[in-house]
């Protein structure tokens, strides 16, 4: 058992966040076939613990930068589901006014200056936000979320070097789900090297279980403290797994790109189920309490998609707005 040493309220807040991400994305799966959500969705089902373990410990003002697979990070950081749902449907009330879609979630009020669909792009942007925080002396920190594939891009290396050189308050969170689209990490990198790259810059680095919220929480806590105390960046590689295909609501093992048995093995280590089991085992929380949360989240999700029906598409006369 691996629970963070925090209050019951806090433990429940984490449960709520995990559940919100999972159920929101499952709702996308349910609705996608209607072909009304005309945006490529990269679901993070199976990877929720990383988003929650990290973001739940950040202040609202702290920055995160995410990727094409950003729903989880943004929800965990506190974005309203309504503004995400509306964006998925390209509505003018979406977080990016329908201009961005799934891959470009944004909410500056929640410390989310944006998400990028270019692999590796989120990494230097987060370093820049950390530089900004340091220069302004506002005590904020920045987090870059990215995948195993992104660690192959030069921008990752350039970012680590600069962050280490200036001891910037930034945390590099790599969600190693072992695949980039359908390409296994073995076809792209020498084995087991992601965290070992930190040494090349003098950046403390660890590989850990990304499906255990407790583990993620603990490593993130240390990294956050280090960053806030002026100790500079940390690189954390969390091993995890995505359940759905790279993009879209389907599963993909049928195509032969990976085996069902691999998927099933990881499903047994479902981060949400593991956490639920752990907090129940810990004894101070009842399954009824959790069911109540589930119900609350469901109605929150219902509300967000109902909200979409009240939204308007952008006016085509505004096509050229916001260019700069």
């Amino acid at each position: 058992m691996n629970l963070p040493d925090i209050s019951k309220t806090e433990l429940l807040r984490l449960y709520e966040s995990l559940t919100r991400i999972r159920l929101f994305e499952e709702r996308i799966v349910d609705l996608y076939h209607e072909q009304e959500m005309k945006t490529p969705v990269h679901l993070c089902i199976g990877q929720e613990a990383v988003a929650v373990g990290v973001c739940s410990q950040l202040e609202r003002e702290d920055y995160i930068f995410s990727t094409h697979r950003s729903h989880g990070h943004c929800i965990a950081k506190g974005m309203q589901l309504r503004s995400i749902a509306a964006e998925l449907y390209g509505m003018d009330s979406g977080c990016a006014r329908g201009r961005g879609g799934s891959m470009h979630l944004v909410d500056p009020d929640c410390g989310i200056p944006g998400s990028t669909a270019i692999v590796g792009g989120s990494v230097p942007l987060a370093v820049g936000a950390a530089l900004s925080a340091k220069m302004q002396g506002n005590g904020r920190i920045a987090v870059a979320f990215f995948g195993d594939g992104a660690t192959e891009e030069g921008s990752f290396h350039e970012s680590l070097n600069f962050a280490a050189l200036h001891k910037l308050p930034v945390i590099f969170i790599c969600e190693n789900n072992f695949y980039a689209t359908n390409s296994h990490i073995k076809a792209r990198q020498p084995a087991g090297r992601i965290a070992s790259k930190g040494a090349g810059y003098g950046v403390p680095s660890h590989t850990a279980d990304g499906n255990s919220l407790g583990v993620v929480y603990e490593f993130a806590a240390k990294a956050i403290k280090l960053a806030r105390d002026g100790g500079g960046p940390t690189l954390l590689e969390f091993e995890t797994y995505r359940w759905k295909s790279h993009v879209g609501p389907a599963s993909d093992f049928q195509t032969g790109c990976r085996s069902e048995s691999e998927l099933l093995k990881w499903k047994e280590r479902c981060p949400n189920k593991l956490y639920r089991t752990d907090i129940l085992k810990a004894g101070m929380i009842s399954s009824e309490e959790l069911d109540t949360i589930d119900k609350m989240i469901k109605s929150e999700i219902d509300d967000s998609f109902e909200f979409v029906r009240t939204c308007k598409q952008p006016d085509i006369n505004t096509l050229l707005d916001y260019v700069c």
Binding site: R99, I118, E152, A180
Partner: protein, 346 residues
Amino acid sequence: MPWTEIQAASGNTAKKTAGQVGGVRDLSYRDAIREALDQALSQDPGVFLIGEGIDDYGGVFGSIIGLAQTYGSSRVMDMPLAENGLTGICAGAAMTGMRPVLIHMRVDFLPMSMDQIINHVAKWSYMTGGAVKVPLTIRAIIGRGWGSAAQHSQSLQALFAHIPGLNVVMPATPYDAKGMLLAAIAGTTPTLVLEHRWLYDQVCAVPEEPYLIEAGSGVIRRSGSDVTMVGISYMVGELMLAAEELEQSGISAEVIDLRSVSPIDEQIIVDSVRKTGRLLVADTGWKRCGISAEVAAIASERAFDALRAPVCRICTADCPTPASPVLEQAFYPNVAGIVAAVREMM
């Protein structure tokens, strides 16, 4: 329904031009590319394909399906997500006897490798006084639709056409796709082959045996006398549809498929404009300093006296691609817009 399937469903349709005669079959754009690569791989041991995840079941939108199985992972190679480095690596291999074909699923990833393309690949022959050539072919696919949005739908041909030392071709038909790809691989000039995703299901007659179509020549897709409509890639089909509609109202439009944006076939433009006196240019990309600007400039330099109306440019709107479907529709040019523009010209 994966993103990519839906995109494929929305393409316009080209007319089939022949049936199964004498080694000539109807082939889709996708299959024509596949056949070209298959033939190049089998004929020349120096040829290899490389790209991110290209050996997976999707096979780059079907365009290389099965080739990984046939030729093995050393000739059809997966690669790390490192576009600039891999472009340099392919360039180094090309300088030393190989003929790599580097494949990007989206044009939008090319800016990552601009240094190697612009500063190295395009300049190496000149910079070495012709001592070392870089026979590198880069395929990249233009995305469109289903909320591809700003970073997954760019059509950046102008950036590359601007740079001396590269060929940039944009085949609009399966026949051209095969011939231009084979010519790119066989030649010594580094060549960028830009394919529009919405062309992949188009079908036309394609000869079985290998043949080469060198960069630099355009082709007249339809003869006409009242207006010259120059287009590239996916826009050629749109122009053909517009030409049919214009015919209804008695306007005879000539449609030129540029095929190659660097070099550009200036003569075919000039000759046509001299005949029709009017010019419309339709691009898949942006207007400012784009292909349409170049074609317009060529006409006003070399066919000035023949021009009887202002040149008209049909391009995507002056903004990044929006995700919203209604905005997407407003962003892209369409047949109705082309028809209206020509009517205005008359």
